[in-house]
């Protein structure tokens, strides 16, 4: 705190130091925060690390899709006009 009997030079020095002190405190705070952030490890949620996540939803979708499935002979009627599906797959794989 500035005393009334201080010389103007002393008063100026004090004010300058006082001003810098806040800069230093602020800087140390930021430094501490950055260090804390770099130490803290990100914990990934289950859906990003568990290969079975979503299995029930997929199975339910498959169950619904499978309802009223046609016979394989009916499928062959549909694909009669189409080229070999294995060849289409090969093309797709070649394009990847």
């Amino acid at each position: 705190m500035v005393e009334e009997n201080w010389t103007s030079e002393r008063r100026l020095r004090y004010e300058l130091l006082d001003k810098w002190q806040w800069h230093i405190i602020f800087y140390l705070d930021v430094l501490e925060q950055n260090q804390a952030d770099s130490v803290k490890k990100l914990v990934l949620p289950n859906r990003l690390i568990n290969p079975l996540y979503g299995r029930e939803v997929l199975n339910q979708r498959l169950q619904e899709m499978a309802t009223g499935a046609p016979s394989i002979e009916q499928v062959w009627e549909i694909t009669k006009k189409l080229p070999s599906l294995s060849k289409l797959l090969s093309e797709e794989r070649d394009n990847e």
């Binding site: 997929l58 498959l62 394989i72 797959l89 794989r93």
Partner: protein, 155 residues
Amino acid sequence: MPKYFLETSAFLKRYKEEAGSNIVNNLFNNRHELFYLNLAIIEIRKVFYRLWKYPLQQDDPITEEEFNALSSRFAEDILQMQRIEFTEEMIGQAITILGKAWVPNIFDLAQLSAYLIAKKEYPDVIFVCSDERSKLIEGVKQFVREGDIIVPGGI
């Protein structure tokens, strides 16, 4: 019970009557344990989608109803089969494969890797593959006996 691992190219033979499709259908009709890799769901559905929604110039597109019928048959089929999940062990196996054989396509590599891991658990499992152009069949021959591979439709 005989065990078979259906790679996607062979699996697709089930949905089109052509050379090799009878062999694949017999696997479904008789009492066999059929395995597939979960990634095959994406590959097969992708082919169906291409035929319906994203046909190329040379493709004769199928209707939505036909697409639904194919998808439905496929869903019914895989619900009867054993689904193998692609695991991190299989990533390691894929890297090991690359040290010994060049398998350029990532799906081929995943299939081979999954098969080889499955074979560690079930040594009698047979690899069924119909990919005529890929290095997959060449690749699998580097790791198992020829008698452990079936190629419906030939190469």
